[in-house]
């Protein structure tokens, strides 16, 4: 099993509903976010192109955060989901410094926090909160090993990219372009 997510940059309008849904679902402390929207405007006026991406932890297959963690608090859960065990986390910040996507943040309670792919929801057959609420249905989630999953199907049909693959992290968040 290999969980992954695909975000359609052509459909995303940058409404930030995914951000609010995540904050609500996961009780994210005020002032922090586990997912966020990035807008990249590129070109020369008036020939401009805009790309809107809903970003979060990439649940990398070669995750530097898991490698750097001195206590094993950051670990690979089933399906390659990268999770943090708050009872093992000492809050040293090594994983935060190791993430090229800066997807982690220090939770005010002391431990490190990040996107979990809504592990508690997918266990019960639900989609992650961000995917479930997206008004343009621009996000796809599922198991890459299952060729009929939403994410496998869309990655078969569309062109896609990952973020800074040259960092060697093997990210599992795909952006349809």
């Amino acid at each position: 099993m290999r969980y992954a997510m695909a975000v359609d940059t052509k459909k995303c309008v940058g409404c930030s509903d995914c951000v609010v849904a995540c904050q609500t679902e996961n009780n994210v402390p005020i002032g922090f976010c586990r997912d966020w929207v990035v807008e990249v405007m590129a070109g020369t006026y008036p020939q401009l192109e805009i790309e809107i991406r809903s970003e979060r932890c990439n649940h990398c297959a070669n995750a530097p955060c898991v490698r750097c963690c001195p206590t094993g608090a950051s670990y690979f859960s089933d399906g390659g989901i990268v999770l943090v065990d708050p009872k093992k986390c000492i809050g040293c910040g090594a994983c935060i410094a190791s993430c090229p996507y800066d997807a982690r943040y220090p939770h005010p309670e002391g431990h490190v926090d990040k996107c979990t792919f809504c592990h508690h929801r997918i266990k019960n057959g639900l989609k992650p909160a961000c995917v479930a609420v997206c008004p343009t249905k621009c996000m796809y989630f599922g198991d890459l090993d299952d060729l009929n999953s939403d994410v496998s199907m869309v990655l078969k049909k569309r062109k896609y990219k990952t973020l800074i693959p040259e960092a060697g992290t093997k990210p599992q968040l795909y952006f349809l372009i």
Partner: protein
């Protein structure tokens, strides 16, 4: 011209607009750890060489600063933790791929060794010192018998401690400025230089001061070579590392790095030490203090500048 504007909706505290997760505690610890490593390395080295009476300050007296530096450093590390009550988790896990795990276990070994080394030399400071209990006397006799083994262990662990302070940072591929294997040897050299300076500061034997000025001079030479080598590596590397080097080559940390670390912390003390070796009358305290200052600044500037360097996407 093609331009790109990136707007991110993320504004997490200590993460944005650039990483700011490590503050004064980490560079202070990296300095104190390196200093302790330098002191203990030379103490062990000259004990093994049988030079404890030629260089008594280095072997017997300077090591008293090592446990103090290590304890203050450990406290600084503890302050840095955000989930403090769980710190013991470091010692219920061995994570071979995590430099921080290596460091935690190295400190677990070298801190007691430094205490034992001081206990064996306690009569240097208090000539009439007597241990109160028999079991301490027996333990002392045991370690005295095996002091050579202890010295070897101390030398090896001092080197691991000194080099790991650099590897801790260089293991982070996410921060291009840190992501160079030069950092391990550079921090080790800087720690050795600081350790030699402490001996120069504390010694009242001319021969010993001169010897350590010579050692310091060689180590500073190595440091300068490593720094040049580091920039050559950065500038011949990918765009992110060229940008990272730019922080010191025209960027916001240029003045701080070249003035505090290279000129005041290396070139000037090296010049003063050359003059001292050539029998000019130089107060020994001057180059030593400059080296210690430069060594501290090296850690501060690298820890802060490294957090600014990043991948752009």
């Amino acid at each position: 011209m093609k331009e790109e504007i990136i707007v991110s909706g993320r504004m997490n505290q200590m993460i944005d607009p650039h990483l700011n997760i490590w503050h004064w505690e980490i560079p202070l610890y990296l300095f104190l750890g390196g200093l302790a490593a330098g002191i203990l390395f030379f103490a062990a080295l000259f004990f093994i060489n049988g030079k404890e009476n030629t260089y008594p300050t280095a072997v017997k007296r300077a090591p008293f600063l090592a446990p103090i530096a290590l304890i203050i450093g450990l406290l600084a590390l503890f302050f840095d933790l955000r989930h403090k009550l769980y710190f013991w988790q470091l010692y219920t896990h061995i994570r071979l791929m995590s430099p921080m795990s290596w460091g935690a276990w190295t400190l677990m070994i070298i801190t007691p060794i430094s205490f034992i080394w001081c206990a064996l030399n306690i009569r240097e400071l208090f000539p009439k010192w007597e241990w109160k209990y028999d079991w301490i006397r027996e333990t002392e006799a045991f370690f005295r018998k095996y002091q050579l083994v202890l010295a070897w262990a101390m030398m090896i662990y001092a080197m691991i401690l000194g080099i790991y302070t650099g590897i801790l940072l260089s293991a982070f591929n996410a921060r291009p400025l840190w992501n160079t294997s030069i950092l391990g040897p550079l921090f080790l050299a800087s720690g050795l230089s600081a350790g030699a300076s402490v001996t120069i500061l504390m010694s009242n034997i001319k021969k010993e001061r001169k010897r350590f000025a010579e050692i310091d001079l060689i180590v500073i030479g190595i440091e300068l070579f490593l720094i040049i080598h580091m920039f050559m590596g950065f500038l011949a590397s990918t765009e992110v590392q060229i940008d990272a080097a730019g922080l010191f080559l025209g960027g916001p940390y240029t003045m701080a790095f070249w003035i505090f670390v290279v000129i005041l912390g290396m070139l000037l003390p090296a010049l003063l030490e050359i003059m001292e070796i050539r029998k000019y009358h130089i107060p020994a305290i001057a180059p030593a203090i400059l080296v210690l200052f430069g060594s501290l600044m090296l850690r501060f500037i690298f820890v802060y500048a490294g957090q600014v360097s990043r991948w752009l996407y």
